[in-house]
Structure formats: C-alpha cells, structure tokens
C-alpha cells in the first residue's frame, strides 16, 4: 500500500456528503415514526414528524441535485464509471476478499490510488444508490408531497398507495445500505481513518 497521502474528497463532496448523511438520519427517524405511528407509541409527534420529514426531504433533494451536477462537471465522475468487461470477476474477487482474505490479512485486491477511489463493490453500490435508488425515493417522495399528481386508481388500488409502497421499500433498502456502508468504512488503515478522511479530504 502506498504511503503517499491522496486528496480524494474535495470540499464540495465532503459538504454534500455530511449534509446528505444528516438529512438521511432525520428522514429515517421521522419516516419510521410516521410509518409506525400509534397513540401510545409515537416516537416523534406526528405533525412534527411530517414537517421535519418534508423539510429534510427537500434539503436532501437539493443536495442530491447538487451532487449529480458536481459529479458531472468535476473529475470526481471518473470514479463512478463502470467498465463492464470483467466487472463481475472483479466484483467476485473483492467479495472473496471480504468474506475470506481480510481475515488472513491478505493485501487488498483493489487498493485506493489516485485513479481508483473505490473498489468494485463500492463502485457498484454507490452507482446504484446515487443513480437509481435516490431518484426513486425522491420522485416517490414528491409524489406523496403532491398527492394530486398520482394516478387515481391502478387496478382497484389507490395509486398513491403504490407510490408509498415504493417509497417505503426504497427507504428500507437505502437504510440497509447506510448501515452496510458505514461498516465497510471501517476497513481503512485503522477503523476510524476513513471517517477522518471524509472530514479532512485526505486519504
């Protein structure tokens, strides 16, 4: 592993990332509170939860649009490009490392370098999350915010119901992603080093 320090996370990315993470935590807390609302078991008062959830969702949307644009027009975008040839093989190699290699202290198959910020698994999950899941959850979220935009009725089920189902399922998948994501961020030089990087920018 090279010892030279790399500047991997530019300021705009760090700001985006921590706003994004904070809003995500708010959305999960309020979202769960709404979904499991009950007279005795309210975690956050319903009307507050609705309001916080809406506000956090709007901030998240703005920051997401910012991310997409910034990622389009800066060099950071190269890290998100998937080369299909041999991708599955590379994925398997990384996967093998995580379930076996890491325990016997094998070297990382795809160490971080200037050209390669993410290992194949990271790359796949970030691309899926940022360019598939996030748009879905944002669009369905706005569908719920402006219910009149929903199709009234789909085969006897309220259209808004389907929108919501998609919103909740995506929210769940993203929450699971976040937990796994945080865990995989402990694979740096030390358990905390990657978190530090995301604050300082230096790897």
């Amino acid at each position: 592993m090279s010892e030279e320090r790399l500047y991997l996370y530019p300021l705009w990315l760090r700001i985006w990332h921590w706003i994004n993470a904070l809003m995500f935590l708010v959305l999960i807390a309020t979202g769960l509170s709404l979904q499991y609302a009950g007279p005795e078991s309210t975690f956050i008062r319903f009307d507050y939860a609705v309001q916080y959830h809406n506000i956090a969702g709007i901030i998240l949307t703005i920051s997401f649009v910012f991310f997409v644009l910034a990622n389009r027009f800066t060099s950071n975008r190269k890290f998100y490009r998937i080369k299909y040839k041999g991708f599955v093989k590379r994925l398997m190699k990384q996967f093998r490392y995580y379930i076996y290699g890491v325990f016997i202290h094998e070297p990382k198959p795809y160490p971080v370098s200037e050209k390669r910020k993410f290992n194949p698994l990271q790359k796949l999950s970030y691309v899926m999350v940022m360019y598939l899941m996030m748009p879905v959850i944002i669009i369905t979220g706005f569908g719920l915010l402006f219910p009149e935009t929903n199709i009234e009725n789909v085969f006897g089920v309220a259209g808004i119901y389907l929108t919501d189902l998609l919103h909740i399922v995506t929210g769940f998948v993203l929450s699971v992603f976040m937990i796994v994501h945080i865990y995989f961020c402990t694979f740096g030089k030390t358990v905390g080093s990657e978190f530090k990087s995301m604050f300082t920018g230096w790897h």
């Binding site: 709404l34 609302a37 009950g38 319903f46 009307d47 609705v50 325990f103 219910p147 808004i160 769940f172």
Partner: protein, 320 residues
C-alpha cells in the same frame, strides 16, 4: 413498441370494459316506475323552477314571479332521493293544490322524520338512537327550536350514501356537503344564528394538506362522538372536543375503521397481508396502511444484515 397483437388486445380490453360498465349501469337502474310523477308535476311546475307563472285575475294577465330560493326543489334530486316514490301530498296537505296557498296551511306543522320513521319498522337505521344522539349535539342543545333533522336531511333530496354508495370519495363529498351547506354558506348559517360563520378553512389551518384531508375524511370523523350502535353517529360535539391528534387516524387502529370505513371493514387483514385493507382501495393513510408480510420481511432482512455485520466484525477482531 405497440405490436399489432397488443393493439388488438387493448382494443378488446377497452370493448370489454365499456360493455361491462354499461351492463352494470343498467343493472343499477332497475326499472323505476314513478307513480306520482304526474301528480307532483302540478307542484314542480312552480317549485321546480326559479320563476313561476300564475294568472292574476284582477289584472287579467299571466304574471311571472320569482320563487323563494328555499322553496325550490330540484326535480332530478327529488326523484333519486330516498323518498322518490312519494307524492307531495303524502307529507303536505291537499289544499296546496290551490294557489295562492290557503293561509291556514302556514300554521300547519310539517311532519318530522320520526313521525314516520319512529317505531320498530325502521330499526335497521337506528332512528330512535340517532334522535337521542342528535338531541345531545351542539346544534340541537343550542338551537333546539330551529335545528331539526331536516336542516341536514332535506326530506326532498336526501339520499343515503354511506350505507349504499361504493365510492367512498363520493360519500365523503356528499356528507361534507351537508355540513358545508351551512358552515361555508353564510346565508344558510344565518337561518339559525345572527353572527357570521367562522371561516372553516381558517379554523382548520393546523391540518396540513387540508384539501386532501377534506376529500378523504368527513367532518363528522373529527366532530362527532363515536357510537358503536349506529353507522352514522350523530352527536356533534363542541369544538373543544374535536379530534385533533393526527395519530387517531394515522395509526394501525385508525378511528376511520370505526367510522368512515365501518361498513367496509370485514376482515382485519386480507389475503395479501395488508392491515386495514378496506382503506387501501381509496387512499393511503400514513401509519394506518401497513403490510404484514413486508413488515416481517423487512424485520428479518434487517436482523440478518445486523447479524452478518456482527459476525464479520467479531471474526475480524479475533483474527487481528
């Protein structure tokens, strides 16, 4: 890419649906014979219109005059109401055939709903209990002389909805229309009191998505005391007692199941595992619509992820 085959299929499907809906419409409008149409027409020719004509013998000419708007009865609504097959004379004196109507008629009491609907014959709609509840309501306690059932149920136009209409949204609109006919209309409001009606849009500002709420729930959901014994509870409470807590509806045992969806709630969980399936076809109520299987699956998946991370981390620590 619509191929010929799919186009043919779509056409067929469209034809089927028009056929089926046309057929079911026929079914609903089982031949009604309006026994009193002719008899009632002698009244509708004046009371069905904004203006009416009569022959003034003193002036020896036909006079066109305005009808008191409160005395106008919509013919179409009358013939689709509960009392569609009634003659005016079932409830009003024959002497109304004369015009001008004889003076004594003014003094004659008009029949109340309970005059006919009291007693055992009509138990299914719990009339007596409704009357009891109504007597306790704000409207009745404050204005018992002026506020009668007919303020909300015009005997000429009322048509039961909640019990019979399969389209919940229509029922909601109908029932809210009853309340809004006064609370959003100063003229009718002031038939009862002298002051101006508080603007209901403003007094309900605390409710987000107000327009959506008023299409999806009825005023009575929040303003009427629950009562197990009848489909439509009738005790309208003072405003301090109105439902304000969101979770009363936005929760698994939503109060809507005991009111708005009372008639629909047959099963607690349908075959697909949806809690409160009755609500699902019409709207989505945060907190009230949960899917049992989705809940289980997400719980299991979540547990597995946490467990996996736990095991992985433990091995990492051991092998350090």
């Amino acid at each position: 890419m619509i191929t010929k085959k799919t186009r043919a299929f779509l056409l067929l499907a469209a034809m089927m649906t028009t056929f089926i809906s046309a057929w079911s419409q026929d079914e609903a409008e089982e031949e009604r014979v309006y026994d009193f149409a002719e008899e009632n027409h002698q009244c509708f020719k004046c009371h069905g219109h904004k203006t009416f004509y009569y022959f003034n013998e003193n002036m020896d000419q036909q006079i066109r005059e305005r009808m008191n708007p409160y005395y106008i009865i919509d013919t179409v609504e009358y013939y689709s109401s509960n009392h569609w097959n009634f003659s005016c004379f079932d409830c009003h004196s024959y002497d109304y055939s004369d015009f001008p109507h004889p003076n004594e008629l003014r003094m004659e009491p008009k029949p109340g709903c309970l005059d006919c609907h009291g007693g055992d014959d009509y138990e299914d709609l719990s009339w007596e209990k409704i009357d009891e509840e109504f007597q306790k309501s704000v409207h009745s306690t404050k204005h018992s002389a002026d506020f009668k059932c007919s303020m909300c149920h015009d005997p000429h136009t009322y048509k039961v909805n909640a019990r019979t209409n399969e389209n919940i949204k229509e029922t909601i609109q109908y029932d809210n229309g009853i309340c809004l006919s006064c609370h959003a209309d100063i003229n009718k409001y002031q038939l009862i009191v002298d002051f101006v009606n508080p603007n209901v849009l403003e007094t309900h500002q605390w409710l987000p998505n107000q327009a959506l709420h008023w299409q999806s729930v009825r005023c009575i959901e929040c303003h009427v005391e629950m009562n197990e014994d009848m489909l439509i509870a009738h005790n309208v409470q003072p405003k301090e007692k109105a439902v304000r807590k969101c979770v009363e509806c936005h929760s698994e045992n939503s109060l809507l199941l005991a009111s708005l969806y009372k008639y629909q709630v047959k099963e607690r969980r349908n075959e697909l595992g949806f809690f409160n399936a009755a609500i699902m076809n019409n709207s989505y109520i945060i907190g009230a619509n949960r899917n049992y299987y989705l809940n289980m699956i997400s719980l299991i998946l979540f547990g597995m992820v946490v467990l996996g991370i736990g095991i992985h981390a433990t091995i990492r620590i051991i092998k350090k």
